[in-house]
């Protein structure tokens, strides 16, 4: 896990290759590649990068760093929820 520098700003994750709206890069990307592909069975898992917590440390996780391994990605509604 790539170590993440802890600051006051809250970093967020996102899809790799995603660009914020309105920038020249965004407009160019839209023209060239069209909308980002959605996850589907039999398709490539969309790559992403996100901040993470593990073993007392904060870090940055990128899905494509796990190529060559089986991965189980589990989303859940929220910390401190009941189920």
């Amino acid at each position: 896990m790539k170590e993440l520098k802890v600051g006051c700003g809250k970093p967020t994750g996102g899809a790799v290759g995603e660009v914020s709206e309105g920038t020249t890069a965004a407009r160019t990307a839209e023209r060239k590649e069209g909308p980002m592909s959605m996850a589907r069975v039999g398709g490539k898992a969309p790559d992403f990068e996100a901040p993470a917590y593990q073993d007392g440390k904060f870090g940055q996780i990128k899905l494509s760093d796990y190529l060559g391994k089986w991965v189980c990605l589990c989303f859940y509604p929220g910390d401190f929820t009941f189920v």
Binding site: G14, S37, M38, A39, V41, A45, P51, Y66, W70
Partner: protein, 151 residues
């Protein structure tokens, strides 16, 4: 997540890397780990807990609920080529079955190890017979496989 964590050794023995993700920040993940998860599972959750603030990742995985502002329970099995082999989505009040995750991973790994020459019928578990798809099997599945083998 605690249930998944309690089966971590079994899942890791299959060579599967676990990643969990919610819209909570990684700071809140730490608090949840310190104050609750560590009391449910010895040592707490051992795998990375990722933060999807804003649900930007959940959106492309089709699990982000715009009204609630959360990622619903979604589970994706991704093979070593980065291809999604299985997905499951549940609404918040119903939890997942970790044993079913393990069974599916074993089945996908078996199929991959045979280079696709074998397929696992309904309810397959390691040790149960598989099917070998081909011209000879067409119309003959009833001879090879009975419904009670699914249970």
């Amino acid at each position: 997540m605690a249930a998944v964590a309690s089966k971590y050794n079994e899942i890791q023995a299959l060579g599967v890397e676990l990643l969990s993700m919610s819209v909570d920040s990684h700071f809140v993940h730490k608090m949840w780990q310190d104050h609750e998860l560590s009391k449910m599972v010895k040592g707490g959750v051992p795998f990375p807990m990722l933060s999807d603030g804003g649900g930007r990742i959940g959106r492309i995985y089709g699990v982000y609920d715009e009204n609630a502002g959360v990622d619903i329970r979604g589970r994706f099995v991704i093979d070593p080529d980065g291809v999604i082999q299985a997905m499951e989505m549940l609404s918040p009040p119903v939890g997942r079955n970790v044993n079913e995750l393990i069974r599916q991973v074993q089945a996908f790994q078996h199929v991959r190890n045979t280079g696709g020459a074998e397929a696992t019928p309904s309810g397959w578990e390691p040790g149960k017979p598989t099917l070998k798809p081909g011209p000879e099997l067409v119309g003959k599945v009833w001879e090879e496989w009975k419904t009670d083998m699914a249970f």
